[in-house]
Symmetry: C2
Subunit: 419 residues, 2 copies
């Protein structure tokens, strides 16, 4: 069993953390920004040093390829992203890029024979934090393979016209045209040229740490539904309207949130649901709110459990404190199962390395979930201390990063050998 | 007993409703706008027709004066505002201006003798909907008479620099300097030159209608307190954080709102409280909120009842669903009682006219409340159908508008006679 070099890994984590450093412990590195360019420069420099061939496609996805012994075989790719959310951490995305780089470095340093090309890849704009939506570019590249309801949300033209949330003007297309690493469409990841994709990522949750495991063998990305729940009351003056005359949409919504928790908490404990986004109208302290809307995000592996949760929403009272309650679906997405053979390579790799591991699902979305519609794909998780992510406190100890990479390295070599 | 002319009143209500018409039943007439100017033009035209002398002060407050028989006596003023909120109604404020105009017209038409100058006045920027805050200019004019905690919020320089909510650039001062009716400070309403102020206004609540009364004899403007209540939890990923690990500030706040209602509803039924304004962070559907803040506005005549309500806030649990609950005062304002003699003039006037009336307090703030710190002041309310206000549906039947004006007319004449 091979292992990657911990010193090299440590240096890489530290160096990438400097590119977009927010000087509070984390980074801000928006897709297609100067910081993104510097991160890619650093990727290119290191990969060229080990003899990898650099290419990039029309969406600025980058590929560092170590040619295999048999040029007729498809490539095996290890991919993640180097962009971050605003004030994000030093591990989300970039650890997957570093992992791919460290695998290639180890292969070169240890002179490991491989039939297939081995590729370290960077996906553009996974976070979608400057140009929404998230997992944008994998949605474009894999578009024709996605289920219809998802693919229509990731149409090329719409995505190219996504506007910067900072100036509400600059489009993704404009930023792309000005970006150093915009290449040609022919270089894209494809079913024809690639055999399989692996992605190492931090868990972004507390489960591995709680179970004292070092590695997560990811089996699926959870299905999710997103609904809007609206309370409609009547706006009136805060000072002149007796309490008994009121139809207060915020008071009604606060009751609805209590009911949702009371009912959904009766379902299996691994169901997760979140009311993270709220709209209040007119949101003035002297006016009783006439409309309050929340978005609820519900995720679980089992479609049956998701359906039970949706039933709870549909069975909410139609009227609460004199306000009308309306429930409307925004989108639904089935659970995406990763390729069983690849999952097995990961599991066996962890076993043979003697690393404490477990099966786990991914509650978060990743490029790997869209890629898996196009070609065999799987993921490896490293623990997130305290489950924190998308913040300065995001952290994974060096040794656990190393173990996740070792697992990917040996799983990739097994994939190379078996195919 | 004198009565105003209903035809003239009807025409006036209809004509003012055209100035800033939003073609949905109501109006938008921001202070110092072109529409405000047109409304003032119309006021000037009509008042000049009856021989009133027009003056305006440095804050664009306007005065139409009918000289009394004794030039050595102080003036009696009837005042309100002609600006509106965005998509406001055809009665809030402007009915008070129309009332003052109709009183003067009746005095002229009926040749009623009066010792004191009688003045119809327009206050500038009562709503504060373009240049916050509300009741801005009366706060400036009466500033030195206000309690310290209020006066400091209405300091001249700060108010002059209030920025337009539309472009966040144009200041109140700039708009004032460009306004047709900016005059000199010497013309301001003052304790030295004015004996008393009357303001007719719509109730903006449902009480007069519910009690089948035509006129409200206003005794006070309710005291109020405004607090911020904050729930502080922890932001985490919506998909990766098991429910048992969460500190969801929105879930906690929904419980807090329930507790607030449960507890405050045990206090006297005429207490009113409103949680109209909400802040949610980061307000993203994939992130568990780590901070939710609401503003609560509590009003009652009795300081003791207000104190009981504040105790409820202070006794909220310090922790709810793992989130810290913080309570902080924003401002407090005692109940302002109107001048007993003037209130009595209004009451007797309604009695002698045989109009169904009642004592009522004002839950809303008005220029009269600040004026009352400077000189004897009172208000007369007309009913609001369904209690609606600040909206297209705002309505008071013509005859009830007329009755409120008749009451003011005879109260003013009594005030003229007795002083």
């Amino acid at each position: 069993m091979y292992k990657c070099n911990r010193k090299s890994l440590e240096t890489n984590i530290k160096e990438f953390a400097k590119i977009g450093d927010d000087y509070k412990g984390g980074i801000t590195r928006y897709a297609l920004s100067k910081e993104d360019e510097k991160a890619r420069d650093y990727f290119v420099k290191q990969m060229e040093e080990i003899g990898a061939i650099i290419t990039y496609d029309d969406l600025a996805n980058m590929y560092a390829t170590l040619p295999g012994e048999n040029p007729n075989l498809k490539s095996i790719v290890m991919a993640s992203h180097c962009d971050s959310v605003k004030n994000g951490g030093n591990y989300d995305g970039i650890l997957g890029v570093i992992s791919a780089m460290e695998v290639l470095k180890t292969v070169v340093k240890e002179n490991i024979l491989h039939k297939h090309n081995l590729v370290a890849m960077i996906w553009t704009n996974e976070e979608g934090s400057l140009y929404p939506p998230a997992i944008m570019v994998s949605g474009m590249v894999c578009n024709q393979y996605l289920p219809e309801n998802i693919s229509k949300n990731y149409l090329y033209d719409n995505m190219m016209n996504s506007k910067s949330i900072l100036d509400n003007k600059t489009t993704f297309k404009e930023a792309l045209n000005n970006f150093k690493y915009k290449g040609v469409k022919d270089n894209r990841l494809s079913k024809e040229k690639y055999l399989a994709m692996f992605e190492t990522h931090i868990e972004q949750g507390p489960i591995l740490e709680a179970n004292n495991n070092d590695v997560g063998v990811v089996t699926c990305v959870l299905g999710m539904v997103n609904y809007t729940i609206k309370a409609v009351g009547q706006a009136n003056h805060a000072g002149t309207t007796p309490m008994s005359y009121r139809k207060d949409a915020l008071y009604a919504m606060s009751k609805v949130i209590q009911i949702i928790h009371d009912e959904l908490d009766k379902l299996p404990k691994d169901l997760v649901y979140t009311t993270g986004q709220v709209y209040v109208h007119p949101n003035v302290h002297t006016v009783i709110p006439d409309e309050v809307a929340i978005m609820i995000d519900i995720r679980h592996e089992s479609k049956e459990v998701i359906n039970q949760a949706v039933e709870v929403l549909k069975n909410l009272p139609k009227e609460v404190y004199g306000c009308q309650i309306e429930v409307e679906v925004n989108w639904t997405r089935d659970t995406v199962y990763f390729d069983k053979t690849l999952v097995n390579y990961v599991k066996q790799s962890a076993e043979q390395l003697g690393y404490k591991h477990q099966y786990i699902n991914s509650g978060a979305g990743h490029d790997a979930q869209f890629a898996s519609y196009m070609l065999p794909t799987t993921m490896i998780f490293a623990p997130s201390i305290n489950g924190r992510s998308h913040c300065d406190e995001e952290f994974t100890p060096l040794e656990q990063c190393g173990k996740a990479i070792d697992v990917m390295l040996n799983a990739v070599l097994r994939c190379d050998k078996d195919n």
